[in-house]
Amino acid sequence: MHGLSPPFVEVSEDAVTLEALLSCIHPNVPRPIFNSLDILVATLRAAQKYAMDQVVLTLGAELVRSRVVDGKVAPSFAETDPLRVFAIARDLGLQAESQIAAVATLNVNLHSAAASVEVDRMPTMFYREILRLRKERKDWVKAHKWWTISMHQPGQTSHCPCGTRHRDIPDSVKQTILKAPTSTTIRNLDLAASFPCLRCQGAARRHFANMAAMYDEYFGVSV
């Protein structure tokens, strides 16, 4: 009785992708939940292919949204795989999402980031945006006033009894900050090892707290 069946077309998407895509446009089917970036990307690509502009926008937001998995809050795909999410969002022309992902790339080592088709095929122009962002942040943290800590104790006339008036940030701490130049890194520095003198450590703690606050004020809160 197939003569009575409605017309059909074969598409190149697999069932998982097609189900997610159609769930986005059907008024009476729940919106899909993506626990895999691969499926989300395949669905986004399909939406782009069929010129489903609103679906691209809706799914694009899923790239940077925190999710709840098994009752626990899971980081967004932009946080777990920032370079790939940046490549995809930038390619799709999703401005806000690519900006969020670009900031998230500051937390990863670009040379050892997980390989993916999107990253491998990312235009050099996009990659340079990432590098420019990183350089901008690095230049800010390298500025003289952040690279030297004044050991002056507020409310006291003398400097730290260990004898230091000013102290350059130790190289190990510099490297930690430059590797991931974000305020989160600055806030989470392990200072005990680098500043054995407790009063110096207190001064360093204030210095970095101030630095992180200024960073967020200057660049906006980072991921």
Binding site: V9, A15, C24, I25, V55
Partner: protein
């Protein structure tokens, strides 16, 4: 007769809910409404726009098809149907 439909049907998009079928590359059939695709996708919109409106030749002599054709031509010459919605504020 065109190509024959094979494969299983998606439980989320079952056969009684749709006037068009999208078949995935792994042979799962999704029943959808043309209108739904037409509104949300410019590609499907164009596809249905370009598709021949006349019924296939082997049906054209049947009574049902001629009734349908007449109904269609009547609809196209008249204005679109209007449904009055009464909203309580």
């Amino acid at each position: 007769m065109g190509p024959v439909l094979h494969g299983k049907t998606s439980p989320t998009f079952p056969s009684n809910q749709g006037d068009f079928i999208l078949q995935s590359c792994d042979k799962v059939n999704f029943y959808v409404w043309k209108l739904m695709l037409q509104i949300s996708s410019a590609v499907f919109g164009d596809m249905f726009e370009l598709a021949p409106k006349a019924p296939p030749p082997d049906y054209s002599t049947s009574e049902e098809a001629s009734i349908r054709a007449r109904r269609r031509s009547r609809h196209s010459s008249e204005s679109q149907p209007i449904l009055l919605l009464i909203e309580l504020t």
